[in-house]
């Protein structure tokens, strides 16, 4: 079992996420994180999926994902030179005596304070998973009210990545005549 990061370019249509998730579900894979957002091309979304599984099984899923009509491209970038980031919002309990210490810790992590209340602070942090985990561990002693994480988003460094749109052939960019 190894951790795999897959990136995909998919049609922005209802049901696509369901179809993709279903291919993991039927094998009993638990998706660690999945992050989707618009890509640079209208009607296409880019997705990052992090999943644990045996390499051969993940490759089989990748091929089946690629087979889905609404999936334009999908690639396993696990071994590649990639940048991967995650964003987290952490709401920490504060008292007048702990507030400044928490702000100091956030500063060290180059995290932002985005909301302040009398008894809590909300911190926004971006980074790789380890960085977010470290901050979380440091703050745990103060009492965490809530944490929300986006899950990992990733792309390969330099050049054009395996699922970038600028390598698409002109033919597939054509609009259908009925539109």
């Amino acid at each position: 079992m190894t951790r795999h990061t897959l990136v995909a370019l998919v049609e922005d249509k209802p049901g696509v996420l369901n179809q993709m998730a279903s291919l993991f579900r039927r094998r009993g894979f638990n998706i660690e994180s999945i992050a989707v957002g618009h890509s640079e091309v209208p009607h296409l979304s880019r997705m990052t999926i992090v999943v644990n599984g045996a390499a051969a099984m993940v490759e089989q899923v990748r091929k089946q994902l690629d087979k889905l009509i609404d999936v334009v491209k999908v690639s396993d970038i696990t071994g590649d030179d990639i940048v991967a980031r995650e964003l987290a919002l952490i709401k920490v309990k504060t008292t007048s005596s702990t507030r400044s210490e928490i702000i100091e810790i956030a500063d060290i992590f180059r995290a932002n304070i985005i909301d302040v209340a009398s008894d809590s602070l909300t911190i926004e942090i971006t980074g790789d998973e380890d960085k977010i985990d470290s901050l979380f561990n440091l703050l745990r002693g103060f009492g965490i009210r809530e944490i929300a994480r986006t899950g990992c988003i990733a792309m390969t460094r330099g050049g054009s990545g395996p699922v970038s749109t600028d390598k698409r052939s002109p033919k597939t960019k054509e609009k259908s005549p009925n539109k």
């Binding site: 049901g15 369901n18 334009v72 698409r168 259908s176 005549p177």
Partner: protein, 567 residues
């Protein structure tokens, strides 16, 4: 909109069952006399009939059901088509748009349910999108690896109006077709074939779908390569050909399985290394390099390691490959296979007074001269039909391979007969599976579809009973079953039938059935505890095939087969 799209796609036949949400569609049908609607008696029958129609004709089969239970009843048929790569389009009614998601009467999330068993499915929320959806659906059904699609249309969308504009092209950036095969891979494959001492072709349904019959024959003959097939590959290569060594797998010919075990090169064409074909995967073809030609990249390397993968259409790839393959003989290898065939004649039939199913199948073969389309159920009847009928005509076996759907036989035979009215269509059924879709007898009679039905009636769910006999110490739990008097049932439905209990009645009964202009049913009361042999026990390797225990040594020889070789 729907009918107009169907006409544009050249649809001639629809198998369906009406209901509330599809009423607007049925109301427009009389305006399209070129669309023949066949009313089935259960929606599962509609899906299987569309499947049988598609397999027999190579065209897209179409079925229609209403929302809720109607759509749900299609599911087995859609799954069946999905596993066997059959192009069908299911049109389902849905509750009107304002009611979707509110658990309205007969509402069902059928696109959600069928998502893993369709190549693609659609919920049409806008009438103007229907032409595009139909264009895409038919394109997807027909191209690449064929498969089922479902189009779910809310009742009020059927009623809405829009200008009909049928697109010429589809825009599917995520749909990648690789048809031609990579030249470097084909070159590598040719090199392996030219160097092999003991090459073996395993041909699957992909050859039938791609109609690569001539190309396969050319490859086999040019380099003298023996050919075995999967269950669904049967009939893609004439079984009376000297280089044909039958079906491999769990109930394959012993010599076919030995050949796989000893081959030094496997050329797998349009097949997916299903577990029923490979038996124990780790022991599959232990001495062989494997070339795998398949249109679906997700099949490459899924079950077995592959040395040379070629993604492409079987016909296109074989045409290129054949040019690079040199003529060869492989005399010793072919002699070895013939030797195995002589010593392990897997198609022997015991000479006995008991009515044996193998004998019945063989006689159907003889009376029809091997020119019928055979549609089988699932279980023992299916294996006997695969083993004891010799398929020389391309695409002449229709069977539920991947899903193994009992009850497939009768509606699929109906679909095949509707699609090929000039062909003789025999439905080979078991008494168990036949009772699952027996109601389609009414459809057959109403449509005057001259399907000939042979029930292998042993009073058991035979294949399961065989497993209980061999692996569960003969504890026959839930396998003995009674059935109705099938001849009386046939008569009640309005077709003629005969009961056959003795060997000498077999041929006259088959001849009577053939002479009957309409449908005909024969209830063959076969030996109740007859088993299917050869058999590779579950979990064993292909080489560990069990052959029929020698009860009575005297056998009918394979003279019938040998005399028609070289066709």
């Amino acid at each position: 909109m729907v009918c107009e799209s169907l006409v544009r796609e050249g649809v001639e036949v629809i198998f369906g069952f009406p209901g509330g949400t599809v009423l607007p569609l049925f109301d427009t049908l009389p305006r399209y006399p070129q669309l023949r609607h066949i009313l089935v008696r259960h929606e599962q029958g509609a899906a299987h009939a569309a499947d049988g129609y598609a397999r027999a004709t190579g065209k897209v089969g179409v079925c229609i059901a209403t929302s809720g239970p109607g759509a749900a009843n299609l599911v087995t048929g859609i799954a069946n088509a999905h596993l066997d790569s059959v192009p069908i389009i299911a049109i389902t009614g849905q509750v009107a748009r304002p009611f979707i998601g509110k658990d309205a009467f007969q509402e069902l999330d059928i696109t959600g349910i069928t998502q893993p068993i369709t190549k693609q499915n659609y919920l049409a929320l806008d009438v103007a999108s229907l032409p595009r959806i139909f264009k895409e659906a038919f394109y997807l059904a027909r191209t690449g690896r064929p498969g089922p699609l479902l189009i779910d249309i809310p009742r009020d969308v059927f009623i809405d109006q829009a200008e009909f504009h049928y697109p010429n092209k589809v825009d599917l950036p995520g749909y990648k077709l690789t048809l031609q095969g990579h030249p470097a891979q084909i070159k590598k494959a040719a090199k392996l074939i030219n160097e092999a001492q003991c090459p073996l072709i395993i041909a699957g349904r992909g050859v039938n779908i791609s109609t690569a019959y001539a190309e396969l024959k050319e490859l086999a003959e040019k380099a003298q390569i023996p050919v075995v097939t999967t269950l669904l590959g049967i009939s893609c290569f004439p079984e009376s050909h000297a280089l044909s060594y039958g079906m491999l797998g769990m109930h394959g010919m012993a010599y076919a399985n030995f050949a796989v075990n000893d081959a030094d090169l496997i050329i797998a064409i349009g097949m997916r290394f299903d577990d029923r074909a490979t038996a124990k995967v780790s022991a599959f073809a232990p001495n062989a390099k494997i070339i795998h030609i398949d249109i679906d990249p997700a099949e490459i390397g899924k079950n077995v390691r592959v040395d040379v993968p070629i993604v492409g259409d079987a016909k296109a790839v074989l045409q290129k490959l054949n040019k690079q393959v040199t003529s060869a003989q492989h005399i010793d290898w072919v002699r070895q296979l013939d030797d195995w065939r002589r010593k392990h004649l897997s198609t022997n039939i015991r000479d006995t007074d008991q009515l044996l199913p193998q004998y019945v199948i063989r006689k159907i073969y003889e009376v029809t001269r091997g020119e019928a389309i055979i549609v089988t159920g699932v279980g023992q009847n299916q294996m006997w039909a695969a083993q004891h009928y010799w398929y020389n005509k391309p695409n002449s076996l229709i069977s539920s391979g991947g899903l193994g759907t009992m009850g497939f036989e009768l509606p699929a035979a109906l679909g095949a007969k509707i699609g090929c009215p000039d062909e003789t269509v025999w439905c080979i059924a078991g008494d168990g599976g036949f009772q699952m879709t027996i109601q389609e007898l009414a459809t057959i009679v109403q449509e005057k579809a001259a399907v000939k039905i042979a029930i292998m009636n042993n009073g058991y769910l035979g294949m399961v009973r065989q497993w209980q006999e061999l692996f569960y110490r003969k504890r026959y739990v839930a396998t003995p079953l009674t059935g109705p008097d099938f001849v009386k049932i046939a008569e009640a439905y309005g077709l003629r039938g005969l009961k056959v209990k003795r060997n000498e009645e077999v041929v006259p009964a088959i001849e009577t059935a053939m002479a009957e202009p309409g449908p005909f049913l024969i209830d063959f009361k076969i030996e109740p505890e007859e088993n299917v042999y050869p058999m590779v026990p579950p979990g064993a390797a292909l080489s560990e095939v069990i052959e029929e225990p020698k009860k009575e040594p005297k056998v009918i020889t394979d003279s019938a087969k040998l005399s028609v070789s070289n066709i």
